[in-house]
Symmetry: C2
Subunit: 219 residues, 2 copies
């Protein structure tokens, strides 16, 4: 929400985008469901979308990358336009297309479901994830951020982003909401793309008709 507000060129309350936010923290763990050891989160996600729709939402953004594994199922039952976080990232990547693949820092659920590689391939963008043995560390860092341990998470995530750079990645997507909380504003040998920031810019574009420039937040 802070990112949407930051990208909105408003000078008073009334120029901001009317927004309803459902902090649907009761949705079961998405990665656990994808890996087959947790309950299906789709019913709780549909309830959360219903709250937004009853509140009058016309454009919906879901600031959880892993939840996009269910994007098609959610869109099929919703009359609102549900933005797709991978498309928002691709829109940001394309103008800067250089050599080398895009690296992915994400939950094990997002990685195992091949959410990013499949959708980015249709835009001609290659995408690689850390080696499976490293993925445990990334999940540990994400859990640390959820519990307030931002500093410990940073050193894990900075090391993994550096490894992806060493494997030839021209940019690394921070493809889990918790990752930019720990990794933002750091000097690393690779460009970092914040997926939720790209989604926030897609919100402004969908609601106000123009796409804000990356990095040009006002606050």
């Amino acid at each position: 929400m802070t990112k949407v507000i930051g990208h909105t060129p408003a000078t008073n309350d009334q120029e901001h985008i009317p927004t309803i936010v459902c902090s649907a923290c009761d949705i079961p763990d998405r990665t656990a469901a994808i890996l087959g050891y947790g309950p299906d989160p789709l019913p709780a996600m549909r309830r959360a979308l219903g709250r937004l729709e009853r509140g009058g939402a016309e454009v919906i953004a879901i600031p959880c990358n892993t939840a996009h594994v269910w994007h098609a199922a959610l869109q099929a039952k919703s009359s609102a336009q549900i933005l797709h976080i991978v498309d928002a990232v691709a829109d940001q990547l394309e103008p800067a297309l250089g050599a080398g693949p895009i690296g992915l820092l994400a939950t094990t659920g997002t990685v195992e479901a091949r959410l990013y590689p499949q959708r980015l391939a249709s835009r001609g963008i290659d995408c690689i994830a850390p080696e499976p043995v490293r993925q445990t560390q990334i999940m540990r860092a994400i859990a640390l951020v959820k519990a307030g341990g931002v500093t410990s998470a940073h050193s894990i995530l900075a090391a993994e982003a550096t490894r992806l750079a060493e494997r030839g990645c021209r940019a690394v997507v921070m493809a889990c909401t918790e990752i930019p909380i720990a990794l933002a504003d750091q000097t690393l040998p690779v460009e970092l793309i914040d997926a939720t920031d790209a989604l926030a810019r897609a919100c402004v574009e969908a609601c106000l008709g123009f796409r804000p420039i990356p990095g040009a937040r006002r606050c």
Copy 2:
């Protein structure tokens, strides 16, 4: 919303308070209505509350001090519990009751409606506002924050808080949402009370059954 999350002792998504936020930026200017030169904001406020109620909200917090001039009118038509920001501030002030009045930095609407002095008097707390001639500067600072001019707003607000301290105030309430955005984390000769932070702690108390300690935010 950041303040509510910061005061919640959660270690994973599911331990957070399920929340719906309506960023109701289309509500007409509250101060203009109180001073008699703007439209009545009550119908738009009722529509925003309706969105929250249809989404299932049971406890409602309104993070706009001036809007509390209409608290009784809103509560009369709502089945949800609407917290009162002045009560949240009073709950924070009482344990530290010392000599001298409380100073008020607020919109001209909040000051003219006597929102704080009236409600704090029933708790035995005296409250003084800046002299009317200073109030124009405070409104200028609030408008600057709404437009992203946080640094310019800070020097105005710091000077006004210092003036209230010189008039004998033992604490100054930052009684407009924009003020702590510009004035927080500054070293001034008087204790600053953040009204929206007090309201966030009242939310945690209403939803989880205990009141977080002032200043003990996790993030």
